[in-house]
Each structure stands twice: as C-alpha cells, then as structure tokens.
Amino acid sequence: MSALQIKKGSSKHSAYNLRPTFSDVQETHTITVLVENEPGVLARVIGLFSGRGYNIDSLTVAEVDPEGHLSRITIVTTGTPQVIEQIKAQLGRIVPVHDVHDLTAEGSSVERELALMKVSGTGDKRVEALRLADIFRANVVDSTLSSFIFQLTGSPEKIDAFADLMRPLGLIQVARTGVAALSRGDT
C-alpha cells in the first residue's frame, strides 16, 4: 500500500491557513496598552507577540503614572483584521494589563515619533543637509566640523521622508524611539 504523496513545500500549510472565511487584507494598527508597571510585564507583551507569531512594527514603553505604577505601551502592528482582533483580545488576557485601545479603529489619534540622525559630510552636502533640516524643523543637537546630529519629531512617515533625503547627504546612523500615540479629544 502506498505512502502518501506530500507535495514539496507543502509544509507551509497548517490548520490555520485553511481558513477562507476571514479577510486576508493586511492592516496596520496602533494599539495602546496600559499596564501595571511590574517586573516582566514588557516580556509578557513581547512574548505574546513572538509566541503567537504576530508582528511588531514598533514598540515604545515608559511609566506614565508613577503613583498608580502604570506604564503605557504603544505597539504598531500589522495583520489581518482577525489577527488584530486576536492581538487585542490576547493582550487583554494578560493579568497586569489594565486596558487595551486600538487607536486606529477608535477614531482619530495623534502619533509621534522622535528620531536622532547622524549625518557626516563637508562642503555642499553639509549645507544642503542643514537646509533640509530647517525645512523639516529638525534641530541640531550635536555638531562637529564634519557631522551633525539632527533631532526630529513627527509622524513615522515624516521621519522616513527625512531619512530618505539625508541618505545621499551622508546619513550614517539613525536612532528612532518608535511611535507614541494618544487618541484625540477629551477621553
């Protein structure tokens, strides 16, 4: 009696992608999570994403309420609508998580990121870098005769655009904080 023919490359298939009822459009969402600032809480959140195979595009975390020992974690993630729903539900299960908000789904929000960019060069390139920095309202926070460090705040897209412009002008290092975000309005 014959063995089964397993097609080459078929190992990609799992029970979970034999699933046509859910949309497979990829969406990017900004999710903000208020957590108790206790040891290991960030590891729990990151472990959830790696353990269940979700994406993290960016992640920021800092204590925001020292008295209540609360930290805000802002996560930008990409997935199908069903995966995004799962991410929110799974985050909600974590015991030290107080609440989870999907800023992308819940109306308009403000998203900001801070970047530091080191641009090395002399002559025309150096002048051009400074001129563009002015247009983007980037500040010079360190300078040598052959380099600048620019500090830039804005949406991730704005920072991407500035980095693209700096690259031919001698961009050698970038540090970005990831997105911090809040919903607009009084709630």
Partner: protein, 584 residues
C-alpha cells in the same frame, strides 16, 4: 493586629487561609524552610511525589476532581523546570493550580548559582500569571492574589517563585482579603441583548445542536445542572468535546456522544449539518473543527466563553457571548422561559429522525474476537463492571484515551480527567493519584497505554507510600498505538520507532513496588480479572494484553471536514492526503 512571621511560615499560613488541605511536592535546597514549616503542622497534608511533573499532574487531577485549585510545591532549578510540562498542560486545559517554587536567595539571582533557573522567565508563557517575590512583606498578598488569578475568569496555572532568603526573613502577615484585590476581575455576566438574540435563534432553529466543552465543568456543578435543564426543556441534541464529558449525562436522552477527530458519527454529522450551533465553554479546537473552510457550513454559530480571546479566534461567531457559562445559561433559560418556552417542534422532530438515521451506522461497532482482547471490548467490560461504583477515570494520551472517551459513560462532571489540549503522555497516573487523594474512598481508574504509563511510572512509589488504591488499567498493545495508526495511514506502514521494546513484566513491577499486579490476555478471563482489580484494596497494575494492531475509529482524517469521517479499516489507508498530511 498583624502577626510577624517568617516567609516560610507565611506560605503555610496563606495556604491554610485559602482552605488548602493538600499539597503535592518534592523538597530541595531552595524550599527547605517551607518544608520545615510543613513538618511542624498538621492542617495541610503533603503528598511526596517521585518527580515534580508528577506533582503538577497530581495537583491537576485533584483540581479537576474537586473543583478547587490544586497546589504543588517544588524546589528551584530542576524542580521548577520539571514543572513546566504540567504547567503547560494546565494552561491548555484551563485547570486552576498554584505552584510554589523555591528560588536561590535574592542576592544570588543572576549569578548562575547552584540550582538556579530563571523560573519566572521559563514559566511566563506556560502560566496564566507568575510572580517572583523579592520581599517577605509582599509574600502573603502575592499568594492570595495567586489563588484569585488561578481561579477567576478562565482558570489556569500560576506560579509563585520564592527566594530562600525571603522564606527566612520575617514580616507582618497579610490575611486573605475579604474581596479579591486588584483590577483583575473578569466579566461573568453575558450581554443580555445577544443572549436574547440567541434565544430567538433557538426558538426558530430547525437543526440546532449544543456543542459543549470543559468550560461547563470549570464553571461548576451549577452550570452542568443548568445545561441539563436547558437541554431537556428544549429537546435540542447535545454533543461535547473530550474535556466536557460528564457535564451532560451519557445516559441522557439528548446525548449524541463526543464529537471531534475520534468523535461519534452522529455527533460530527450533526455538527456538520446543523443550522444553529451553540458552543458553550468550548474553543473550536482543531481536533473538533477539522478542516475550517468546510466546518459546519450552513449554521449560525453562538459562542459562550469567559475568555474574549476564544471568540472569533478560529471560527466566526454570529452570537458572541463573553461570560461565565453558569451565569449565561441562567440568563438564557430565564429569557427563553419568559418568552414562552418556544422551540421549532416540527423542525426538531425531523432533525432527530435524521440523527437516528446516522445513529444506525453504529459507528462504535468493532469486530469482536474470542482469542485476543479487543481494547474496545476491554473498556466495554470495564464500563459494565464499574458503572455502579463511585468512579473517577483518568487517562494517559493516545488510542486508549479516545477509546475510553468513546466507550465509557460519564454521568456527572468532575469524574473524567484527561490531557486534552496538550496531549501529555504520562498525565494519567499522577492525575489518578491526585484524584484518589481528594476522594480516598472512591474507585479511581487510570485507563492507560503501556507507553504513556511508563513515562511517569515512578509514581508507583507515591501510590504505595500513601496507600492510594489507584487502579492502573493498562491496555498493552506493545505499540505507541496512535503513532502506529498514523504511520499506517500516512507513512506507508513504515512503523518508525513506534513499538514498545523491552517492556517490563508489569506484574513483577507492581510487586517490586509492593503493589498488586494482574495480567490478562484471554477474553474469557477478562471479567474476573477486572473484578479482582476492583476488589483489591490497594494500588493495582492491570496489564491487559490487547490486540496489537487495532485502529481507533471513527476518525476524521486531518485536513478533512466532519462529513468525511472514516468508519473502519476498509478505506483507511491513504485517507490523509495533500494538505492534510502536514497537519497533526
């Protein structure tokens, strides 16, 4: 008036305050102060296991059989890492257990000290929550919180890691709070609007089916009672997952039997053909759904679950209800009664006629034999001879587990303990010990396969030491039966490493531990042998030599929908093809 005491004493005091009467554990360097306190009291009984994995499974068995959380105490390093399988098992099956682990003193954490392991790091993904207590003052509060987290909402395992210096140091004891503290208070009441919509759907459905799971049992005996009332009153057929057996009695008139990969034909076809599926405390596991794109294509689906992340995880739900099964069922019944107890009688009658037709298949029939014991026959006899007893069944994992689920009938909740989600071989024996500790006078039987049973056979020492008369009913086919079955169906009958070579003589093994051993290989002797096992007042290893190549049917091949069940060996070879081949 606060009481000053050492951390070690606090542990014992907190357990006492939480109503704990039994702890399963194994001592070691980092928990010696706690063991010293355990020695000096009589309120809490300590059951010394022979391996930490055994302690966790025993605590699970205890928890499932009582509805109370189970408690285990292990040392640092290897003690904690040995607990990982049990913790994962409890997480998958939503079993409330509290594991207390010793840790090297706080000032040595991170120095790669002797028997140090990053226990909270290792157990973070396999617990509902865990804590490293670095300050004796916070120890009692943390333990109380651990009990709350383990039992509230969807139950699960928690771990409290306690460094040795924290056990030695003294601080004020914090008593158990009157109401649980903290923000962790899961929602138990379901949304009334959705519940009303569900009731409307029940009133008109032509082909409804209840699909229930372990959540009904976790919710408590009241939930099972409400479920029975609802099922009887509406006349709707009911099937259950492996984890949910006993919530509705197997002798009940609406019972279809277990569903899923090795579920009954009528149960799976009812799931496939229904127009309203009411999932109560189950999670659309892949053993249940089979192929997702062909899962119950014509039905509206309701899903009652206390865990919001279960809803819409794999199957889109039309009536999602987040809440405790007991509370929601109460509301469903209330609304349904208030609206005049309506059902679609005509539709239901037709639906039941269809189900009766499916039942005629007699999907659990098997070819009997007069010369060898068929495993199904062994379980039928076990069922017949133990039915009237105050009986608890545990199982290991494999063919015997599925046969036990098919051929044994469960009339009440908390009588059936098996490793469902994780499928942990070696679960059943220590679990049976935990059950027997909780119910010393009941008949506790572990239905096992010889390979699974050997994985935690060291617990014979525990059974004998504590005079726990657990019956180890081993269906010995000298094979890893389920692995062998899949190799036959999927891998061209190349039986790679799926036989049990060099098996012990189980009778001598039992005797070596000071227990009783029984061997049975002739169907004619089976009844007498089973009676001898039941009547013996002490632990028994029953070596039941069964047909070696029996396959477990019915079976939904992986990657296939419910209506593509295999009922017997005839069409079995080549059953799993294409995409299904890579699924487990």
């Amino acid at each position: 008036m606060t009481r000053q005491m050492t951390g070690a004493k606090m542990v014992v005091q907190a357990l006492r305050d939480q109503g704990v009467d039994t702890v399963f554990g194994y001592p070691g360097g980092a928990v010696l102060p706690i063991y010293d306190e355990v020695f000096q009291q009589n309120d809490i009984r300590h059951i010394l296991v022979r391996h930490e994995q055994g302690a966790i499974h025993a605590a699970e068995g205890y928890a499932r059989a009582t509805g109370k959380p189970g408690v285990a105490l292990v040392t640092s390093g290897p003690g904690a890492t040995n607990a990982v399988t049990g913790l994962t098992d409890a997480l998958m099956d939503s079993i409330p257990i509290i594991v207390l682990s010793g840790q090297v003193p706080t000032f040595m954490i991170g120095s790669d000290a002797f028997q140090e392991a990053d226990t909270v790091g290792i157990t973070r993904p396999c617990t509902k929550h865990n804590w490293l207590v670095k300050d004796t003052e916070k120890l009692a509060t943390t333990i109380h919180q651990a009990f709350h987290v383990a039992t509230a909402g969807r139950p699960g395992p928690v771990l409290v890691d306690i460094p040795k210096d924290v056990q030695f140091a003294s601080a004020a004891y914090t008593p158990k709070p009157k109401a649980p503290l903290g923000h962790y208070q899961p929602q138990v009441k379901g949304d009334m609007e959705t519940i009303t919509q569900l009731v409307e759907a029940i009133e008109t459905a032509e082909r409804p089916v209840f699909y229930t799971g372990g959540g009904v049992i976790n919710s408590g005996p009241a939930a099972s009672q409400l479920l029975r009332e609802l099922v009887e009153a509406t006349g709707v057929p009911i099937t259950s997952t492996l984890m949910g057996l006993g919530a509705y009695p197997a002798s009940g008139k609406n019972w279809l039997g277990m569903l899923g990969m090795h579920g009954l034909y009528e149960a799976n076809l009812a799931m496939h053909g229904c127009d309203l599926m009411i999932n109560i405390g189950a999670r659309f596991d892949d053993r249940i759904t089979g192929r997702l794109d062909a899962f119950s294509p014509k039905s509206k689906k309701a899903h009652i679950d206390i865990d919001p992340s279960s809803i819409n995880k794999v199957i889109k739900t039309d009536y999602p209800i987040v809440g405790d099964v007991g509370h929601v069922l109460e509301d469903v019944l209330k609304v349904w009664k208030a609206r005049g107890r309506k059902v679609n009688r005509e539709g239901l009658a037709k639906w039941w006629r269809q189900i009766e037709e499916w039942r005629q298949k007699d999907c659990l029939s098997f070819k009997p034999s007069e010369t060898t014991i068929k495993p199904q026959h062994a379980l039928q006899r076990l069922e017949a001879l133990t039915k009237g007893h105050d009986r608890y069944i545990t199982t290991e994992v494999g063919q015997h587990q599925m046969w036990a689920a098919q051929y044994l009938g469960f009339e009440d909740p908390n009588r059936w303990m098996t490793s469902g989600g994780l499928g942990t071989m070696g679960y059943g024996f220590p679990a049976s010990i935990g059950v027997q500790v909780a119910h010393p006078d009941s008949l506790v039987i572990n239905v096992a396969g010889e390979a699974s049973w050997l994985m935690n056979m060291q617990e014979m020492g525990t059974a004998v030491q504590f005079r726990l008369p657990v019956k180890q009913f081993i269906l010995n086919n000298e094979r890893l039966g389920m692995v062998r079955q899949w190799q036959q169906l999927l891998h061209g009958e190349r039986y790679s490493h799926s036989w049990s070579e060099a098996l012990p003589d189980f009778v001598k093994l039992a005797e070596a531990f000071g227990a009783k051993g029984i061997i049975c290989k002739d169907p004619a002797d089976l009844d007498d042998a089973i009676m001898e096992m039941i009547e013996h007042d002490g632990p028994v290893i029953f070596d039941c030599l069964v047909e070696k190549h029996e396959n477990c049917f019915p079976m939904i091949p992986s990657g296939e929908p419910h209506n593509k069940m295999l009922l017997g060996d005839a069409k079995a070879t080549d059953a799993i093809a294409g995409k299904g081949a890579v699924l487990v």
